[in-house]
């Protein structure tokens, strides 16, 4: 490819989509402008980004690349068919989404799967307008009365250390938006309040929804350069979707974190059945499951894999339905743990702990995640609802 602008690294390659106004009103408006060959280069690709989206440089494309574009096109077409219906069939959408959602269709698909965006096309525009106004009103109310100083302190010291390696999260406008989202959520959920790790969970939403309005990688985008109308909706949608997500895993964050206690116990149980040798070794070395997997549950493995990989995981979690984040996640953790079994079996307590805290997943791409998800699916099919009589 010779047409790349070659400035992908400095962040200035992100441009606002011309039809942003329409997308703000109704995300379905983004569907018309998706072209199969406007694929953003995958992050593994070493070639420069395709800048001219309207013509294919056939000579420089291999058959494999063309095939990939073709399969992408038919996949997008299938999604579009579902998303453009007057009444979106969520079951159809889930079936497709399980294997991953094309990134252009992800913002709208996620909002539907979370039950934030109405499935009925006629209700979309008014619902979105109302929810976004509700959020903005909520924020101005929360910040006009006296702040809960303890809560605010906790949030304001965590926001600057959220995804510190990604440019997007270093920008002023991102940090202020995350503060507002987290603070409003926290004061509206006093039983849990702000718990460390929730700051991680908001980021897949924030960058996915941001991606709806720009061309280029959201991780290098400075939202401060975008119109306020765009920023406001990205923020409001992130808030509501975070709220929906946390509704499903509330007991992870209330006093004594019973949800996490349960999931860690389930992981222990599953590991014993899937890989007895590993289980025995961990026991002999006095490694407690709580010591390494608490974080896996509290942050949904976000400290173990990149945000981009997390986003791919969430396609599947959302397709799994209401307990994707609480039940299916445990199977994913089990598949994740036994993956390292050969290495762990050779280690003593100290080595196991160090290893499990810094797993070699830096180079993981979508393929690794998809393998993990399919392994988790297999364990789930084998063991779901079987726990009682197998014990």
């Amino acid at each position: 490819m010779t047409t790349g602008p070659g400035n992908g690294a400095n962040g200035s390659s992100n441009t606002l989509k011309s039809q942003f106004d329409g997308i703000i009103k109704d995300p379905a408006n983004s569907l018309y402008s998706i072209r199969p060959n406007s694929a953003r280069p995958s992050r593994k690709s070493t070639s420069s980004p395709i800048s001219s989206t309207d013509h294919l440089d056939d000579e420089t494309k291999s058959n494999a690349e063309l095939e990939e574009i073709n399969s992408r096109y038919s996949r997008i077409a299938r999604f579009k068919k579902i998303l453009q219906a007057t009444n979106v069939d969520l079951n159809d959408l889930k079936r497709l989404a399980w294997s991953g959602i094309p990134e252009e269709l992800r913002p709208m698909s996620w909002q539907l799967l979370l039950g934030y965006l109405p499935t009925n096309a006629e209700r979309r525009v008014s619902t979105l307008a109302r929810k976004r106004k509700e959020y903005l009103d909520g924020v101005s109310q929360a910040f006009s009365s006296g702040l809960d100083q303890v809560m605010w302190h906790q949030i304001s010291i965590d926001v600057p250390r959220t995804n510190p390696h990604i440019k997007l999260y270093g920008f002023e406008s991102t940090q202020r938006a995350l503060e507002r989202i987290l603070y409003l959520w926290a004061i509206r959920h006093p039983a849990s309040g702000y718990v460390q790790g929730i700051n991680d969970l908001v980021t897949p939403f924030f960058q996915t929804f941001l991606s709806a309005y720009i061309d280029g990688d959201p991780e290098t985008c400075d939202p401060g350069t975008l119109p306020k109308s765009v920023l406001d909706v990205v923020e409001a949608d992130s808030f509501w979707c975070l709220t929906k997500l946390l509704d499903g895993i509330q007991d992870n964050y209330i006093h004594a974190q019973p949800g996490i206690q349960r999931q860690v116990a389930e992981l222990r149980d599953l590991t014993q059945r899937i890989d007895a040798q590993l289980f025995k070794h961990l026991q002999e070395e006095n490694v407690e499951f709580m010591q390494f997997s608490f974080r896996w549950m509290n942050c949904l493995l976000m400290r173990e894999v990149s945000v981009k990989n997390t986003i791919r995981m969430w396609d599947t979690y959302l397709a799994e339905g209401s307990d994707g984040f609480s039940k299916f996640h445990v199977y994913v953790c089990a598949a994740f743990l036994v993956k390292w079994s050969p290495a762990i079996l050779r280690m003593d307590f100290q080595e196991v702990m160090m290893f499990l805290q810094a797993l070699p997943t830096k180079d993981w791409d979508e393929k690794n995640i998809e393998l993990l998800l399919s392994e988790a699916f297999m364990w789930q099919s084998l063991f779901k609802n079987a726990s009682a009589h197998l014990r």
Binding site: Q154, N163, Q196, H255, C299, R303, M354, Q357
Partner: protein, 215 residues
């Protein structure tokens, strides 16, 4: 000779527990570490005198919500390090509840040290200090001396450090390690002494028995 020491770090959110221990173990510093969830584990091997000491350090999460997990880490500890930020009086006050919790749940043999962090901020701007070192020393003298040692001077257990400028970090662990070795030696000496005494008592006790059998 070798010695295993389990150290647990406790203290409020954001005082810099992770920065402190990462500076010690890896000699690096990074502004804005991601928050610690649950606890993280670090290890370091040091040689002092003729002892090889394996330090196993649990760096716990500071947030209140994770507090119910803390006993898992401090119960088996040989030393607790309570951390506060010298530019935050609130973090110093919050330390007290950790101390009370330790005293209530761990036997009195647990060694406790207090570390004030972010000394670099105060070096750059002295007006930022909210907790004078003397306050910490007075606190330590009052609350840490109940172990029964005579003439306990709180300053022995108080430190101020900067992870950023690498100031005082090494020293904290050296002091603790030396104390642990000292303690081990005392226990070993005691043991040998006791063994010796036990034998003496044995001999001593034998006599009346023999006598009573005789009468």
């Amino acid at each position: 000779m070798s010695l295993d020491a389990k150290i647990v770090l406790l203290g409020s959110q954001g005082v810099g527990k992770t920065s402190f221990v990462v500076r010690y173990v890896r000699n690096t510093f990074q502004q804005g570490n991601a928050s610690t969830i649950g606890a993280s584990f670090l290890a370091k091997k040091v040689m002092i005198d003729d002892y090889v000491v394996r330090l196993q350090i649990w760096d716990t999460a500071g947030q209140e919500r994770f507090r119910s997990m803390a006993p898992m880490y401090y119960r088996s500890a040989t030393c607790g390090i309570l951390c506060y930020d010298i530019t935050s009086e609130a973090s110093f006050k919050a330390m007290h509840s950790w101390l009370l919790e330790l005293k209530e749940n761990v036997d009195s043999g647990l060694m406790i040290h207090i570390v004030g962090t972010k000394l670099d901020l105060v070096n750059a701007d002295p007006s930022k200090r909210e907790v004078p070192f003397e306050t910490c020393v007075a606190y330590a003298s009052k609350y840490l001396s109940s172990g029964g040692e005579d003439g306990f001077d709180g300053s022995e257990a108080c430190h101020e450090i900067s992870a950023k400028d690498d100031e005082g970090v090494e020293e904290v662990f050296e002091v603790i390690t030396r104390k642990l070795i000292e303690k081990r030696r005392m226990i070993e000496d005691n043991y040998q002494e006791q063994q010796a005494r036990r034998q003496t008592i044995y001999v001593h006790n034998d006599e009346p028995e023999v006598k009573s059998g005789c009468c």
